[in-house]
């Protein structure tokens, strides 16, 4: 199950072990740290950081599409090399990319791809030492495709988020035809995710401060359900307050965004070159 096959840990956070409050708090803090880290790398001066967010969204989207389109491992390898090159040119340390993207995806997709080596039928190219299970040629190809695609696509997706302030990514979505209402909704959701994360963090920390000993499994389940219930009630109450505030400021059901991006020749060139990649893959017989 590809849960957890995320560049930033499962559901955007580094989860702690088990279902304890410590693990949950660790996860909540991890999600917020991830957001802060992404904002700081987006502020650096690098190749991708200086490009227009719309050009980046279209270009990197085209490269992700290329990753799924190609039927050749050599093309996949070239695309991965391009992702590494772009990361270096954007002053993203390989260690950070490895920690945030490559390692997590390798562990998850690798675990999924490994059985394919012996489960996919075909001529055996070697036998696993000790077990004697045959590793088939189609199995090896298949595992390489799965891992290669997952790693490369996750790298391009991470490049977008690590080199672009999140508010700019949202506005750039207008360029690919995402309705303005949806963009506004995404922006609000993104904002309130962190508010609710902070609320959840404070709630569970306050609870932990009042515990004399670690609770048992049943008590932890009750604690979590109560936490979810409180969070839902607060979310709905907050929705009412936010609605009143929006109406007070003149909201009548239409979302409007200020679009202050300027497309320069280099942005157009970057997006154009990236768009040529999937086109070349399709025209070149994939």
């Amino acid at each position: 199950m590809p849960d957890g096959a995320t560049p930033f840990g499962r559901c955007g956070c580094a989860r702690g072990p088990g279902g304890g409050i410590e693990g949950l708090l660790h996860g909540l803090v991890g999600a917020m740290e991830h957001a802060g880290g992404a904002e700081s790398t987006a502020a650096r001066r690098g190749l991708l950081q200086v490009l227009d967010p719309r050009a980046k969204l279209i270009g990197l989207g085209a490269l992700i599409l290329s990753v799924t389109l190609t039927h050749r491992l050599a093309v996949l390898a070239a695309l991965f090399a391009l992702a590494v090159g772009l990361a270096l040119a954007s002053r993203l340390a390989p260690g950070r990319m490895a920690r945030q993207v490559w390692l997590g995806v390798a562990l998850f997709s690798g675990a999924l791809a490994l059985p394919a080596l012996v489960l996919v039928p075909g001529p055996a190219i070697l036998h696993l030492p000790g077990l004697g299970w045959p590793v088939t040629a189609p199995g090896l190809t298949s595992a390489a495709f799965l891992l290669g695609r997952a790693e490369t696509a996750a790298s391009f997706a991470a490049l977008l988020i690590l080199t672009t302030p999140w508010s700019h990514v949202l506005k750039a979505m207008r360029a690919v035809g995402v309705p303005v209402g949806l963009v506004g909704l995404l922006g609000m959701t993104h904002r309130y995710i962190f508010l609710l994360l902070q609320t959840a963090l404070q709630m569970f920390e306050a609870r932990r401060a009042r515990m004399l000993a670690p609770p048992g499994a049943a008590a932890r389940r009750r604690l979590l359900v109560t936490g979810v219930g409180v969070l839902l009630t607060r979310s709905l109450a907050l929705a009412g307050e936010v609605h009143l505030a929006m109406v007070a400021r003149g909201y009548r059901g239409n979302v409007r965004l200020i679009d202050d991006f300027r497309l320069r020749p280099r942005d157009g060139l970057a997006a154009g070159v990236a768009l040529l990649v999937p086109l070349a893959i399709v025209l070149g017989g994939r």
Binding site: P2, G12, G23, V228
Partner: protein
């Protein structure tokens, strides 16, 4: 359950986007019409809530843990259409900003979790909860079952999407180009984890939340409580049902018998045998009716065989009468079940 980029072929991604699109359109219209200006902040907050809930690991019996998706909670508290919108938004934020689930596979993830998950959760909850009181224990069971069934059906959809890949997309040597496992491996592998850990976590969170809401905020359960529906709101349904009944003789226009619905006598009839062979890719049917079919065929004689009651000479009117009798019987059975359920809950 979040499918990353590269696991599904571009064609599968396109099909799943196309399948989810009508639901997104209807959800956006219904939510806008239902909530007017409150829709945007409400959906944003519930999407954020679903996102945060997905981070809560629930301790499960046996020392392990699992996390809920929140599809049951959203569908029960908000109703199916707002839930589709809220879960889709949460999935999009996860895909774009947190890399959880792919961008090309966003359509598939939304179809599995937001569309199928929310609709199944809502249907199961309404079916089991019936007209029970807001504070009835039956609603807790209904919530837990809704969460459990919804996450498993969503996992089944994901398993089918994975399992179709090797059969449809492979290179000349037979090596799968995307998810490598066939349906016989992908579906059980997906369901194993969801029938146990993930399903249990979803059931615990959804059922537990219903119990918590009953104790502290029961009004939040009223929106989808399924209490009596006014006659005027059902007018379109009855009109549609009537039109379909009157249109049922259109079935007479179809030539031949539906594939696989042949009677035991058809094997002895030359014209019917020819039709069976033509419909089966020119494969000749068995010389005689299979023994099991011949033995069981006479077990039950329908009062209105082939939708043509013996006492009627008009085939078209026979179809209409059959539609009315069949539809009426179904309504009566469901009415009795609902009545029994309501009496027990009272």
């Amino acid at each position: 359950m979040h499918i990353p980029d590269g696991y599904l072929s571009p064609a599968t991604c396109a099909v799943t986007y196309a399948a989810a699109l009508p639901f997104w359109i209807v959800a956006s219209r219904r939510v806008g019409a239902m909530m007017q200006t409150t829709a945007v902040p409400l959906i944003a907050l519930v999407s954020a809530f679903c996102f945060v809930v997905m981070m809560f690991n629930v301790p499960l019996p046996g020392g392990t843990s699992g996390h809920a998706v929140g599809m049951g909670i959203a569908a029960i508290v908000l109703g199916p259409w707002p839930a589709i919108a809220a879960i889709s938004i949460a999935l999009l934020v996860q895909a774009v900003f947190f890399g959880d689930g792919g961008l090309t596979t966003f359509g598939a993830n939304s179809l599995n979790m937001a569309v199928v998950g929310a609709l199944v959760a809502y249907a199961v909850y309404r079916l089991i909860a019936g007209n029970a009181a807001l504070t009835s224990r039956r609603r807790v069971v209904a919530g837990a079952m809704a969460g459990y069934v919804a996450i498993n059906v969503a996992a089944l959809c994901a398993g089918v999407e994975f399992g179709l890949q090797p059969a449809l997309f492979h290179d000349a040597a037979g090596a799968p180009l995307y998810a490598p496992y066939p349906l016989s491996v992908a579906v059980p592998a997906m369901l194993l984890g969801h029938l146990t850990f993930a399903g249990l976590a979803e059931a615990l969170i959804t059922g537990g939340l219903i119990a918590w809401l009953q104790a502290s905020e029961p009004e939040l359960l009223r929106r989808t409580a399924g209490l009596a529906v006014p006659w005027r709101r059902m007018r379109r349904f009855w009109l549609g049902l009537g039109v379909l009944m009157v249109a049922s003789p259109l079935g007479l226009l179809a030539a031949g018998t539906a594939w696989g619905e042949w009677g035991a006598g058809a094997f002895a009839d030359a014209a019917a045998r020819q039709a069976m062979a033509t419909a089966s890719g020119n494969m000749a049917p068995p010389v005689a009716a299979p023994a099991g079919l011949a033995r069981l065929a006479g077990l039950w004689t329908a009062p209105m065989p082939d939708y043509a009651p013996a006492f009627l000479h008009s085939a078209a009117f026979g179809y209409i009468l059959s539609a009315m009798v069949g539809g009426g019987l179904i309504l009566v059975v469901f009415g009795l079940v609902a009545m029994l359920a309501a009496r027990r809950a009272a």
